[in-house]
């Protein structure tokens, strides 16, 4: 049997908000998941090309080794393998967006109506028309998603979230599980195991998007009041409808900027973010962490799941290839965030150095069809292997 086959798209969990798909739309997603996987494997050739010809040619010409990521970028950009791999990878990401949007935009009104029906009269969805989308989100369409998280093509639009929900399974080849919630599940298990007596009354999830990672937390603490915030109204409408359809009722979704929330000082026991900070900005990241510190009760816990950090022992090539997605799959702040040490970020907001913690995490996956078990090379920027940093506020 061939190794490393991605799961077929129809393994994705169905719920009321998941867009309808026809045969060919599912087949297109299957093609793209396989193409992603193929390129993740062929990508190992970049390292070979770098070591066997890019670096030797540089050394021969300049009589010294490559000194920076910038020099490496310039040298490798002339390599034919790197060129074809990069153009195929970029093309695959653009096709994934096109495929997802072609599914959701043709049914934009039906999806809007489904969300409106589920959300009708519910106090657990709080939208704020005066909430401004932060500049850092207006400056770029993260991961090549035209219109990003906030653009509304019709009134009451939910298509950005429907596109995200149906397509992230393709980009990650199902590695986040059937509900795309492998991150939320992993952090919930870690917290339960590490702090068995922890009984948070009030939990905040910042930058919740379509709410996929907050639901495992809300399920694990059914008596807690969970609040999930985001600035994108389409994401919140979809997230709220999706949560209700999946039977989770203890989450209130609110439209709010994480840098300036309306909550009182020291009012949360746990503040969580998942794959959020790398899509913020250089000044905002500090403001948001200040806000986290302000909102956290003494003794409260905060954790942030992020991309792996750069380390001093990491080779120039690894740093370079880790940044490929940041620059060419449009997640630009990620390439800058590497320069910030999480401990410095937290200490600057008031957390104590000795309270800082950092752990590794891997997605928990509920797919049990054997397609996810084979060892495979890390697909930089896509593999669900993360760095988690945080602190207990003392």
């Amino acid at each position: 049997m061939a190794k490393n086959l991605p799961p077929v798209w129809n393994k994705i969990a169905k719920h009321a908000m998941m867009p309808e798909t026809n045969h060919d739309e599912r087949a297109r997603y299957n093609f793209l998941a396989n193409l992603n996987k193929h390129l993740a494997h062929v990508s190992q050739g970049n390292k070979m090309a770098f070591e066997k010809r890019v670096e030797p040619a540089f050394v021969k010409e300049k009589e010294r080794s490559i000194a920076s990521v910038e020099e490496l970028n310039e040298a490798i950009s002339k390599d034919s393998h790197y060129q074809i791999w990069s153009s195929l990878r970029r093309s695959t990401m653009e096709m994934r967006q096109q495929a997802g949007r072609s599914i959701v935009l043709r049914q934009a009104e039906e999806l809007r109506d489904k969300a409106a029906e589920l959300n009708k009269g519910k106090a657990t969805l709080v939208l704020d028309a005066n909430c401004k989308v932060p500049e850092y989100l207006l400056a770029v369409d993260n991961h090549l998603m035209p219109g990003s998280y906030h653009t509304e093509l019709i009134e009451g639009d939910v298509t950005p979230a429907a596109n995200y929900d149906s397509g992230i399974f393709v980009t990650t080849a199902g590695l986040l599980g059937r509900y795309n919630d492998g991150g939320g599940k992993a952090i919930t298990s870690w917290v339960k195991k590490t702090y068995p007596d922890f009984a948070p009354k009030r939990i905040l999830d910042i930058g919740c998007g379509m709410g996929h990672n907050v639901l495992p937390i809300a399920r694990a603490f059914p008596n807690a009041e969970v609040i999930a915030i985001d600035t994108g109204a389409p994401m919140l409408r979809y997230a709220h409808a999706r949560a209700l359809d999946l039977g989770v009722t203890n989450v209130t979704f609110m439209q709010m900027d994480a840098a300036k929330t309306i909550f009182e000082n020291e009012s949360f026991d746990w503040i969580q973010s998942t794959m959020f900070f790398h899509e913020t900005g250089g000044k905002s990241i500090y403001k948001i962490m200040d806000e986290v510190y302000r909102l956290l009760k003494p003794g409260g816990l905060t954790l942030h799941i992020e991309q792996p950090q750069y380390t001093d022992d990491m080779s120039l090539f690894e740093k370079f290839i880790r940044d490929w997605d940041a620059l060419n799959n449009s997640e630009p702040y990620w390439s800058k965030m590497h320069d910030i040490e999480p401990i410095d970020l937290m200490v600057s907001s008031g957390f104590k150095k000795e309270d800082f913690m950092q752990i590794g995490a891997k997605a928990e996956n509920d797919l049990d069809d054997g397609t996810q078990k084979a060892d495979e090379p890390e697909d930089h920027g896509r593999s669900p292997i993360w760095n988690v940093f945080g602190a207990i506020k003392n």
Binding site: H23, A27, I84, L88, M95, L327
Partner: protein, 117 residues
């Protein structure tokens, strides 16, 4: 009503990176990959049809897999299809060869020629 076909193919913010020395290569590659995708979609659809035919007891996948042309006419039709298909796909290579064999004037030059005719 939104133009869902046009909007599905919208560009995202930021100048698009090109990796090949000539952007034309990148353009053609993107079109080719989109067609490769649609061929995969068609193959999956065919697979669905074959499996449904088998489940309904009409034609088995084994029958399809072991099928070989049964008459000379069938053989000829199949090979003709392949021949024509390849010629159609590789049209430009053939035309470049013809041009090499028979160097041509540009149409602008021919226009000047015709102007004098």
């Amino acid at each position: 009503m939104i133009d869902h076909i046009k909007l599905a193919s919208s560009k995202s913010k930021g100048k698009r990176p090109y990796f090949h020395d000539d952007p034309a290569v990148e353009r053609v590659l993107n079109i080719t990959m989109a067609i490769a995708g649609e061929l995969a979609v068609m193959r999956e659809r065919m697979d669905s049809i074959e499996r449904l035919l088998e489940k309904k007891g009409l034609v088995s996948q084994k029958e399809i897999d072991t099928y070989v042309p049964e008459t000379k006419e069938e053989e000829t039709q199949r090979q003709e299809w392949h021949s024509e298909y390849i010629s159609r796909v590789l049209r430009i290579v053939q035309q470049e060869m013809e041009e090499l064999e028979n160097p041509d004037k540009s149409i602008a030059d021919i226009a000047n020629d015709i102007d004098k005719m």
